[in-house]
């Protein structure tokens, strides 16, 4: 009997396997990390966060170039917007990891916007560029954390712009 002759149930026949678990033999202990271990690990991350604005700015510049290269019309900037999404997606994960959660929030807003775009026009590109400008300002001013009331105001404004554009182009 070939696979295509099988009923759906047979195709989906389930086998439960208890896999080998060699890690258990290699590891002793069972609790959480000691405060000292945790503090050292967090300090290592904090130390790396000092360099974050420098290398993240390179990504912001790449993002800016992609948006400048995206043109409504032929191809509709599809390649650039796909690459911009990937880049912003990475930035979304990195910002908070290195102590810049406002970057994460704005990159997230960018990703949500680009992901939902059926086509681009100048209005969409302007919104993308406003996100880039906000990211640049965060890095230039070394705005760590959520950025306080001003940071919230900037992020709220971008999210509102995205919402308005999306509602208008439903």
């Amino acid at each position: 009997m070939t696979n295509s002759d099988k009923s759906d149930d047979e195709k989906d026949a389930v086998k439960i396997i208890k896999p080998p678990h060699p890690i258990k033999d290699k590891v002793s202990g069972s609790g959480g990390p000691t405060p000292e271990m945790l503090a050292k690990a967090q300090a290592a991350i904090a130390k790396m966060s000092d360099d974050y604005p420098g290398w993240a700015m390179e990504d912001v510049q790449k993002l800016e170039q992609l948006i400048l290269d995206a043109k409504p019309g032929v191809g509709n900037g599809r390649d650039q917007m796909r690459d911009a999404f990937k880049l912003a997606h990475d930035m979304r994960g990195q910002g908070g990891s290195f102590g810049f959660p406002l970057m994460t929030r704005i990159a997230n807003s960018f990703c949500r916007f680009v992901e939902g775009l059926a086509s681009i026009d100048q209005g969409a590109l302007d919104i993308c560029m406003a996100h880039v400008n906000a990211m640049r300002a965060i890095l230039q001013n070394n705005v760590r954390g959520t950025g306080g009331p001003l940071g919230a105001q900037i992020a709220d404004g971008l999210e509102l712009a995205v919402q308005k554009y999306t509602d208008k182009h439903k």
Binding site: V27, G29, S30, G95, P101
Partner: protein
């Protein structure tokens, strides 16, 4: 007493060098001494031909081979060096459909970015202390997608598909 991870071997596959270093530093401070790194899924497959880690930290979005394709390959390919190896997926994706996608590829744990030291430790601990049985069908090999097991003899009154959303996030 904390976990003694000094004998663990860990592979980190992540295309961003800064994120890679960050995860490595956290692992070192938690006592892991044998760590290898690579930039994408195909590099990881090449590496695994000659070296067997105990756990893999795998980014999702990488090129040419992303974390999902790597996971499907390691689970389903007949030439896989170890289809049961625990894979902890690092990703900025937090949307539910993405989590389902990772789960359905055979990911063991899901660690959403931003990455924290606590998050890394918790996922390792879960892999060690809460191993799940593997499910094998024609289309899937990977950890059971149900975290909570129903007790034998339980009457299944469920009218909707099982809620498999309990991957650690």
């Amino acid at each position: 007493m904390p976990l003694n991870l000094s004998r663990l071997k860990v592979l980190i596959a992540e295309d961003n060098s800064h994120m890679r270093v960050m995860v490595r530093e956290v692992l070192i401070h938690f006592g892991v001494s044998t760590i290898q790194e690579c930039k994408d899924g195909s590099d990881a497959l090449t590496l695994l031909k000659n070296w067997q880690p105990d756990i893999i930290f795998m980014d999702w979005m990488m090129e040419p081979m992303d974390g999902l394709e790597f996971t499907r390959t390691i689970r389903m390919d007949p030439t896989s060096p170890n289809p049961y190896i625990p894979i902890i997926m690092l990703t900025g994706h937090t949307e539910l459909h993405r989590i389902f996608e990772a789960r359905d590829a055979g990911v063991t744990e899901f660690l959403a970015k931003p990455v924290t030291a606590n998050g890394v430790y918790a996922r390792i601990k879960s892999v060690i202390e809460n191993p799940r049985p593997f499910i094998k069908t024609d289309r899937y090999l990977g950890p059971s997608r149900r975290r909570r097991q129903e007790h034998v003899g339980a009457v299944n009154r469920r009218k909707t598909p099982p809620d498999d959303t309990c991957l650690a996030i």
